[in-house]
């Protein structure tokens, strides 16, 4: 089992409030990602779960047991750190053995030399060796066991750090931005490996990242945190399609969602620039923010009441897609439009282009940044 519940967790350092009354229920075997911009308190929350930090108020429950007063080492959680935090003076094998030695050997058996006289030590050493060998085979680090961490590459250190967490077979894994020290290609590769690992271990993973791409690709659910508040907790697809607020919509998705200034008239009909959405919002007679993701816009030759025009300021070619950064004519804002290379390769910086909406998709937010629903389809 590996359920973790956080109830009304608050944390402040002096007068600075870092976490604001958070409630999260993490299910057994789930891959939950805590995602948010740096400084949003997500790492602090993870450290509170781990027991490395004490919450100012609220309760942490692991498998329905309150662990507020339980020390980090006794919570049976394993943590993987951003800098890997391997013991630099020990070989990989000893690094992997350390948590097991501390758990299995008693104080006498840990003594150098005379500890070997304990009759039960041999048996325990056997089982530790087996676990280390099993884990290192799973992670394909068997040939590295006799090296020191300083002689390993970033990716190899990452695996060793994972291994050190895995050998103990903990109730849950806590990961604090474990991929952010790797280079881009390796990071993408490790994402899939972590997902596979999660599938085969079927243990709870709590994963902290500031990279929304990692959250979207790996997690079963993601919790978006901004400024110490939990804004939305849902599946990645739901968070992407149905963000609960403007900040979530802006944080999730790359390139960023385009925000237009729009209005809802007295009947609730929504429009922006010269474009009428022909849909009604639940709030009428007010200014609104209208969010449209880059993939829901397209460059077109048409010019009619459903299009608006602008000047290409910058062309970002990713190979499979080209993103155009376009200054809209009235100068109000800069938007990003996705184009397929085969249709848009001739468009260069400085061209005037017309833009239309590809699908009906749009997200409405009121002035306070909260989501507003459409009343008709």
């Amino acid at each position: 089992m590996g359920t973790i519940s956080l109830k009304n967790i608050s944390k402040s350092f002096g007068s600075t409030q870092v976490l604001n009354n958070l409630n999260v229920d993490i299910n057994d075997g789930e891959f939950l990602t805590l995602v948010g911009p740096s400084g949003c308190g997500k790492s602090t929350l993870l450290r509170i779960i781990a027991g490395l930090e004490q919450q100012t108020s609220g309760d942490v429950l692991i498998d329905n047991k309150n662990v507020n007063r339980v020390r980090a080492s006794e919570r049976d959680l394993a943590m993987v750190f951003q800098s890997y935090a391997l013991y630099p003076h020990l070989t990989v094998r000893r690094n992997l053995e350390t948590p097991l030695r501390l758990r299995d050997y008693n104080a006498f058996e840990r003594l150098p030399l005379i500890g070997n006289f304990s009759p039960s030590k041999k048996e325990k050493t056997e089982s530790i060796n087996q676990l280390v060998n099993k884990t290192s085979e799973t992670l394909k680090i068997s040939e590295l066991l006799d090296r020191k961490p300083g002689q390993l590459s970033g990716g190899q250190r990452q695996r060793v750090a994972l291994g050190r967490a895995m050998v103990r077979e903990p109730v849950a894994f806590l990961m604090d931005e474990p991929l952010s020290n790797l280079d881009a290609a390796l990071r993408v590769h490790m994402r899939s490996e972590l997902s596979e690992l999660h599938n085969s271990l079927k243990t709870t993973f709590v994963y902290v990242t500031h990279d929304q791409a990692e959250a979207l690709t790996m997690s079963s659910r993601m919790a978006v945190m901004i400024d110490g508040n939990l804004l939305q907790l849902d599946t990645p697809q739901e968070v992407y399609d149905n963000p609960s607020s403007l900040s979530v919509a802006q944080f999730v998705g790359s390139p960023k969602i385009n925000i237009f200034k729009g209005t809802a008239d007295s009947g609730g009909t929504v429009s922006f620039l010269n474009v009428n959405l022909k849909r009604k919002s639940s709030e009428s007679n007010t200014d609104l923010h209208i969010g449209i993701r880059p993939e829901h816009l397209e460059i077109t030759n048409e010019s009619n009441e459903n299009t608006f025009s602008g000047t290409v300021a910058y062309r970002e070619n990713l190979g499979s897609d080209i993103f155009f950064h376009v200054n809209i004519e009235d100068g109000s804002n800069k938007i990003i439009v996705r184009g397929l290379p085969q249709f848009t390769h001739q468009i260069s910086n400085g061209s005037n282009v017309n833009i239309k909406r590809v699908s009906d998709k749009a997200l409405l937010f009121n002035q306070a940044g909260m989501r507003v629903q459409f009343t008709n389809a």
Partner: protein, 297 residues
């Protein structure tokens, strides 16, 4: 390389060579005098090793040895008489006992202190650390008298304890190790805690191994200072010659039976300094690493 660069490099080397000579000269004199006879020393003749003529040494005869025993070459006489006149091995052993005990206890005290000051959050930490810095400013000689009185009251004068106890808490050590521990990432300590280590285990099993270079630097500061210390042993070792440390031992040769005899005196000094020089040469690389690492001195 162009000629111009050669000249530039040449200047640097010339200056460094002059500096090296200034530093080396006393050592040269010491070694040279430990090999020559008294006449050659006083007349400043004979170069590095003197003529090495076999002769009979009057001071030796006055001490009560037979003329036959006292007839030998100067270098033999100097070293033989140094060891005859004073129990130099005993002094060296005392030096080893005292400096090692001091260093080991200093480490036992300084590492946990430094760890607490660098990595644990507790009320008053900054105050405690400022007191450590404050203690760095107190000169030893300023508190020597009260320390002596305290040791005398405790009946510890003329014991190893008197030589060791006052030095066991090294604020310099605490400060140096604290500065080093500040550079150890917090995540390493958190990882150790997650693995199930207690705070003391973290100090000895995680912090100590990572701090070896800094510890070595501290070891050399500490060992050199206490091996060479003359002031404190002179104060607390008043009668018992069996407790003399090497610098006190050298003093035995000052003002002998009728005159200062420099040959045996210098021979004893060579014997006392050689262990330190050898230790320094062995540890040299690590020593320099340790200092650049912490940016101290």
């Amino acid at each position: 390389m162009e000629a111009k660069q050669y000249i530039g490099e040449g200047w640097k080397h010339a200056i460094l060579i002059i500096g090296a000579i200034v530093v080396m000269l006393p050592f040269y004199m010491m070694v040279s005098m430990s090999l020559k006879s008294q006449q050659e020393i006083q007349s400043i003749s004979g170069g590095l090793i003197g003529a090495q003529e076999t002769q009979t040494f009057p001071v030796c005869v006055k001490t009560g040895y037979s003329e036959e025993t006292c007839t030998m070459k100067p270098y033999q006489y100097n070293y033989w008489f140094a060891f005859e006149k004073a129990p130099i091995p005993r002094y060296l052993m005392n030096g080893v006992i005292v400096t090692l005990s001091i260093f080991i206890i200093q480490v036992l005290v300084a590492l946990p202190c430094a760890y607490a000051l660098a990595k644990l959050r507790f009320y008053g930490r900054e105050f405690v650390f400022s007191m450590v810095l404050f203690c760095l400013l107190i000169p030893v000689h300023g508190i020597a008298l009260p320390l002596y009185v305290m040791l005398a009251q405790a009946g510890l004068v003329d014991t190893y304890s008197a030589l060791i106890l006052p030095w066991t808490i090294s604020v310099f050590g605490i400060f140096l190790m604290r500065q080093f521990f500040m550079t150890v990432p917090d995540e390493l300590i958190d990882a150790a805690r997650m693995d199930g280590m207690g705070e003391y285990a973290i100090v000895w099993k995680v912090m100590l191994p990572t701090a070896i270079p800094a510890l070595l630097a501290f070891a050399i500061f500490s060992v050199v200072a206490h091996w060479n210390d003359y002031f404190w042993p002179r104060m607390v070792i008043t009668g018992n010659r069996d407790l003399f440390t090497p610098p006190l031992g050298i003093r035995e040769f000052r003002g002998g039976i009728d005159s200062d005899e420099f040959g045996p005196m210098m021979a004893s000094i060579v014997t006392v300094t050689v262990p330190l020089i050898v230790a320094f040469i062995i540890a040299q690389k690590r020593f320099i690493e340790g200092i650049t690492l912490t940016g101290m001195k």
